[in-house]
Amino acid sequence: MKDFRAQVEEQRPYLLRYASLQLRDPAAAEDAVQETLVAALAGEKSFGGRSNLRTWLTGILKHKLIDAIRKSGRETQIESDEALEALFNESGHWKTFPPEWRSPDQSLEQKQFFAALEMCLEGLPEKTARVFLMREHMGLETDEICKDLGVTPTHVWVLLYRARMALRKCLEMNWFDVGRKPGRL
């Protein structure tokens, strides 16, 4: 059996990918992973082989990422989202009806789909992406996100809504490209 250090080291690429999704700053992601590995090696006893190593390391990494996010500062402004406003007319109804996506579940089998998804995530405003990933990738609840970012629940829900709307639009254009001309129902 490989020694603990080697097993932990093996997880580095996975952890780095996880951290890079949450933090846009590669150096900060690197730091968080490094701190995680150091903490893991120091805490070998508390792991004790009782759970999945990757799950355990990811748990440590989440704490490090949240620390990094806290350090990177808190702001409370919500700016307007013009791309979102442009989807609806004055009475709040669709200007262009959103089309059905063709077999979305099959996309989950395709590596290129995840590349497209990541590209769309990169296109989100930084804070919107951060809140969305804390919620959907880390699986944090609203109140945890509020505490970590120093924002209100309403603010979090606005940003999550914007993220979902922007991502679905981006995937529609760049992946599901349903071959309809703009403006047609």
Binding site: Y14, R17, Y18, L21, L87, F88, S91, G92, H93, W94, F97, P98, P99, E100, W101, P104, D105, S107, L108, K111, F113, F114, L117, E118, F132, L133, R135, E136, H137, G139, T142, P153, V156, W157, L160, Y161, R164, M165, L167, R168, L171
Partner: protein, 61 residues
């Protein structure tokens, strides 16, 4: 009760993934989705996004 427009309905559908909606909100949302294919699709797409993002970074994705 005032009926929802599409913007309000999609916003509520999104919040439904993050908090428990009140009874009034759930009724209004259901009424809207029952007659609006566009918002129903978007609601399904939100759920799909959640599923997709959870898989991101796993098994080389």
């Amino acid at each position: 009760m005032k009926l929802l427009n599409c913007k309000e309905a999609t916003s509520l559908a999104s919040q439904g993934l993050d908090r428990r909606l009140g009874l009034g909100e759930r009724i209004l949302l259901r009424l809207h989705l029952a007659v609006c294919d566009g918002c129903s699709r978007v609601t399904r797409q939100f759920a799909f996004l959640r599923k997709a993002v959870r898989q991101l970074g796993k098994d080389g994705r």
